[in-house]
Symmetry: C2
Subunit: 333 residues, 2 copies
Amino acid sequence: MAKNLQWVLESRPKGWVREDNFRLVEGEVPRPGPGQVLVRNLYLSLDPYMRGRMDDAKSYSAKVELGQVMVGGTVGEVVESNNPSFKPGEKVVGYLGWQLYALSDGRDLNRIAEGAPIPLSAYLGPVGMPGVTAWVGLFEIGNPRPGETVVVSAASGAVGSVVGQLAKRMGCRVVGIAGGREKCDYVVKELGFDACADYKAGELHAQLKAACPAGIDVYFENVGGEILDTVLRLVNTFARVPLCGLISQYNETDPRGMKMMGSLLVNRVRLQGFIVSDNMAPWPKALRELGQMVARGQLKYRESVAEGIKSAPRAFIGMLKGENLGKQLVKLT
Amino acid sequence: MAKNLQWVLESRPKGWVREDNFRLVEGEVPRPGPGQVLVRNLYLSLDPYMRGRMDDAKSYSAKVELGQVMVGGTVGEVVESNNPSFKPGEKVVGYLGWQLYALSDGRDLNRIAEGAPIPLSAYLGPVGMPGVTAWVGLFEIGNPRPGETVVVSAASGAVGSVVGQLAKRMGCRVVGIAGGREKCDYVVKELGFDACADYKAGELHAQLKAACPAGIDVYFENVGGEILDTVLRLVNTFARVPLCGLISQYNETDPRGMKMMGSLLVNRVRLQGFIVSDNMAPWPKALRELGQMVARGQLKYRESVAEGIKSAPRAFIGMLKGENLGKQLVKLT
């Protein structure tokens, strides 16, 4: 008989997260109660925000308690259902965490339309939370105009890759920042960005300056640290900085912060932190259009897929270190 | 016969500005050409932004060149006029710089209505650029709602004192930050703020936490540095930070920057640099209402007045060090 496997938070990281901050727990597959759905997860999404949930500090939403299953987005299949809205065999997007099986009352599940020409895993990437994050941050906060220059960090990642392609479609000059030649080649040759600066190659300021001859109007920020300061030396008057993530800082005990405050003032920059779940209004339109683009091959993406639930902690740490290319997933079956 | 006296920029400061960065030049009083107005300046405004103009770096607007007269807001009297829009004896607000006499083509002069129950010097403070700065930053960027908590740094200064009084009038809880007991007493007892934290007394975080039991919704930033980070530990979700100035950093060769980037993200803070002259649309309404409030005694302010043009550099440096209370002016006659 099938067993459930769950990764629970064993201890809170001090600085860099380690594999022994997690503990694998084996248990029974739960049985759905009245109104409940049993879901077998097929894919688990690994995302930078999860690092914040591991800390004993205020974050976007509740932290994960010690001994609790790690949170995370999932795509799964309904196995049993006592809920009239779901039938066995249906595929659902959920937020069911780092585990093979989970119960849900159905309110946090979204059914995936059968027969859509979109791979299941894409609902955790370009047609899911990362895609909508890119959409909202770019259009609602970045608000670029055609011809403006948009720079995005973590450009090959799940969010950054969508940001750049959306900006490119609307007629912006798009420049990525990524770590290493392979990622930069992917960003330019496959995703179609105009240029990509390799922060691991040194001289980031010179690279960006050459790639952005008209300055930077929108900087979609995913990383923080020194890269942010380097970009702030090149922003134009009235630049917008959607602040989506600070992945370079999450594992630092003494975050670097931002030195270039003066640039925000002199250039009248608007820097705005946001979380995609703050406002659900744009989701339906964004998901519909992102889904169409993926189905038509107009929105490209790549995935780094770790095999098996046991690989989740290692894959998570690798993602935080930038070892993945594109969306980091765990294939659970 | 009268002579002109002008302070020109002699050298660019390295770190803290010094008196010998300026040079006093004596010369003839200029004669107005066709269409020109000769103005005798009565008051010179000294403002933190002038420090940026002394650097050989990009600032809001053009830097002052070596040998040029230092820029600055002025109130003066028309002495001679070849311009049909101005008559001798009329009082005008201008941007005529650190000098006793100046020529203007009239386009940068605003006539002060005769008989208004507003002291001339107030046109350089609450009924001038600093007042409109407070207005625009508070209402257009801070956008507080009644009942929210508004914190303002440099609270006893020309801008901060207006910010707090405007926020108080609309029903906010208003907390100032200022340096020293005298300034804090003035802010609470005379300006009517709910509380004022003294950053020189230590334990700023504890002081602010006690003064802001419901957290901070709007932080009107004039100073930067450690104070900004301390405030960012206490901001609420969706807080707004109008970034008006960074006076604590202007003379630092290695600015501290902002450590608390994570708070901007977690709390979805909007931080926006602004310059009051970017958008002239709100000026007429703001000046009209600020003028009415001053005339009715509803908007209080204090001035630190240095006597004579020779005192300008010393008064400017003192202002940057926070030695003034309220608006720093130089009385030129």
